[in-house]
Symmetry: D2
Subunit: 258 residues, 4 copies
């Protein structure tokens, strides 16, 4: 497995960004699989809150299914564009890095070949980014997603929760009074896609039954059902940890690439 650490100047962030990639292009003969002759597809893999690029690697899977992995570092941004200059993490992942990868590497480039997945804050990011750019991402995998829009709505200056304060949530989501109605809410994006008749990426959600975010994920599942938006929703034994994520990213990857 070839490993790339890449630094480039990000216009979205107004500063350099560093990210990691994996490309299975140095396989030994015994690693070649039925998928090796297919053009190499790409998975954008999104870290969670307090994580970074490379913290979470789907060991063994890229070789098996012949896909590259792009691992952005989006800091603690919820993969959203904030109001401040240079706080454009939605643009970073969904536009700039997709374009960077497409123009730099010899990889398959259609939305049928480009998927996005993440865990926790990165599960939110996968859903949000995938729904914001349905012409770029054909499939979305969302693990234990931090679907917290309704939780942070109407938070007041000086307020906060166990994770972070009002100023932080404001810097990520913008005005918290209107957050549920704006494009930072994946539901808004999904409903608009549905209304427009546009193609909606395929969606696979999973959450552990002991996860503190279980109700948030069930609520999103109900929302998608109510809207008639096709998706898979899975619950499994487990909590908000790498044991659950290793098990279920394997299932998502199989769903995406097999």
């Amino acid at each position: 497995m070839s490993r790339f650490q890449i630094e480039y100047f990000s216009t979205a962030l107004q500063r350099p960004t560093v990210f990691d990639m994996l490309i299975p292009n140095d396989l030994a003969p015994w690693q070649v699989s039925e998928y090796s002759s297919r053009p190499t597809r790409t998975l954008f893999l999104l870290h969670g809150y307090s994580g970074k690029s490379g913290n979470w690697i789907p060991e063994g899977l890229p070789e098996k299914y012949n896909f590259a992995v792009v691992m952005p570092s989006a800091e603690n941004s919820f993969y959203l564009n904030g109001e401040a200059t240079g706080h454009n993490f939605q643009t970073l992942v969904g536009e700039e890095m997709v374009n960077f990868v497409r123009k730099t590497f010899s990889l398959a480039q259609s939305p049928e070949d480009t998927f996005i997945a993440g865990l926790s804050m990165g599960g939110f990011g996968a859903l949000h980014t995938g729904l914001a750019y349905p012409d770029r991402f054909g499939k979305i995998g969302a693990l234990s997603s931090a679907l917290i829009v309704h939780e942070v709505a109407h938070m007041q200056p000086g307020g906060g929760n166990g994770v972070a304060n009002y100023a932080y949530y404001h810097s990520c989501f913008g005005d918290l009074e209107t957050v549920e109605e704006r494009d930072v809410n994946p539901e808004v994006l999904a409903r608009r896609l549905k209304a427009s008749g546009a193609k909606i990426p395929e969606i696979y959600m999973a959450c552990g039954t002991e996860d503190f975010l279980l109700e948030n994920n069930r609520a999103m599942h109900r929302f998608l059902e109510a809207e008639g938006i096709p998706h898979q929703y899975h619950e499994g034994k487990g909590t908000h940890d790498m044991v659950f994520w290793h098990e279920h990213i394997a299932k998502i990857v199989e769903w995406m690439f097999a």
Copy 2:
């Protein structure tokens, strides 16, 4: 010259941070100088706006004067603590990384052995961080410093300047109505140190005569003179670029370490 790329979990940022260090501990016999037998001192070297750790390396100087270089990545933060959870870049550089380096490496540790310098936004950072932690940094080198507190004061929501918008400046400096009176203003820190009779780090400022920040630097020079705070202030032919910085970081390093 040994080079270190270091990743650790930053409590100040609530996520991992990556920074670079240089330590001249692998010198060839012909590189040994009169300073090599002295305990190795440390220079915290701060990048400018749109830069990052390692973008700016004082080639040849650490070997010559026997000092380590710590190069934080402080994004576009002005090396300040903002209001949002995890936006604590002053704490990152002035407390957390100083402590990290002291507990991890065998380097000289007193303020007489620990200096700070930077360029542009990092010149601001060197002045601000050095004055905020006079018990940690014995000398400050400030090149072409982005002393913009008076410029951003009273900026209004929706406003901005050629570099960034109101939301950005607010995320770095906090309330822009009171910015001149709060600790984000290096003048406030300097005046307080003077009033308390505390030891003030030695200061060396330099700016190019063609630099767009020349007047800001002259104003700081006048302020320090008016307050009776000892410092060196130098102007030289040049503009806001690496030609000026390479020339003058060499002078600052000689002033610090010779």
Copy 3:
């Protein structure tokens, strides 16, 4: 867990070398253990043939038992000094890197605090380096060790085996006619230490019952028994792969640091 990628100029290799380190010095409060207040010990962890620094990380263990991990890259050298200028990998690991780490980092430094372990070629390296420098390494952990001295002895020019050719083995081990009697043979080192009455590092060997190197490891076990050199020898279900090594490095680490 702090991660360090380090490059320095190696006199032993006559060129720069790059290696990785882990130091558990950024732990969250809930990661603190009974061992955290003890000075941080060090494990030199050696990769196998066709590996490199960082390919093999004992996840979770350094935090738990409070030890740093130094991961040299010794290429395919068998951790030995060859005859060619710059082919000094025994010196690299056993002298140069031990000295580099001791002078650079604030870690416990006595042989009681400095251990060495490896797998396959690195198991050979751990035994050989540990026995070559008993004043530096207090404990040796050797997994599935490539104890091949008797196999390559008397190999002829033009010859080879399934892994590599005569010229390769000659570059690592020197004259293959005399290889069994020279210091590249761990048995020679062990016997000499025993004869001199010097302190011999504690030894823990393990090998899988399906491993193609099982007989080589059993032979070393019998040799140590015959010489009356104290050691632990364990066999377990498994073959020459990461499943076995993850299971047994955990046991070695517990034996070393608990």
Copy 4:
């Protein structure tokens, strides 16, 4: 300038190799030049003895002339295939990495778009690799080249020179009795290309008048003249150091890419 640190498993070396690349694909509008619209060409840039990938970067030039830089780490191998398994540095650079770059990146791929240059041992490597693969490299730039074949010829076991010993030279060049007649000698490659009527890469050599390798370079110049092989040969004030190399790599790059 985007920077890539890349690790892949090298079949030529039988272990992972790490190398650096630069690609000017993140330029600001003011960095765009007349060459930016041309497909991005590639320069393989070879380090000298005791160097490694990235030690030597042609700052500012890739942006200006729109070319990628591939910087192999070839250790102290003289970019040759030795006899030992995994000691195949000619294959590494001239075949494996060319193929890796071509299949991985979206860069111009013809020999008219792929050039090779180096300094000292890397100057030797550029001449040798370029002449060994004339169907891959259209132009060769050779700075202060370590053209030492005639010096090491007939060196005896136990012998050596100020740089390294017999065993080292044997590991790089093979049998030193026949070294002048074998393909490790760039003259042999040049003469064969000439005889076969094959296309010979364009050659640009430069050496400082104070360089200890001056006579070696003059001898190669005379050889090429005597063989009627077109080339440029330049001498300039300077010695075997970065001052000379920075000045003359700029001239070579202009000759290659302007």
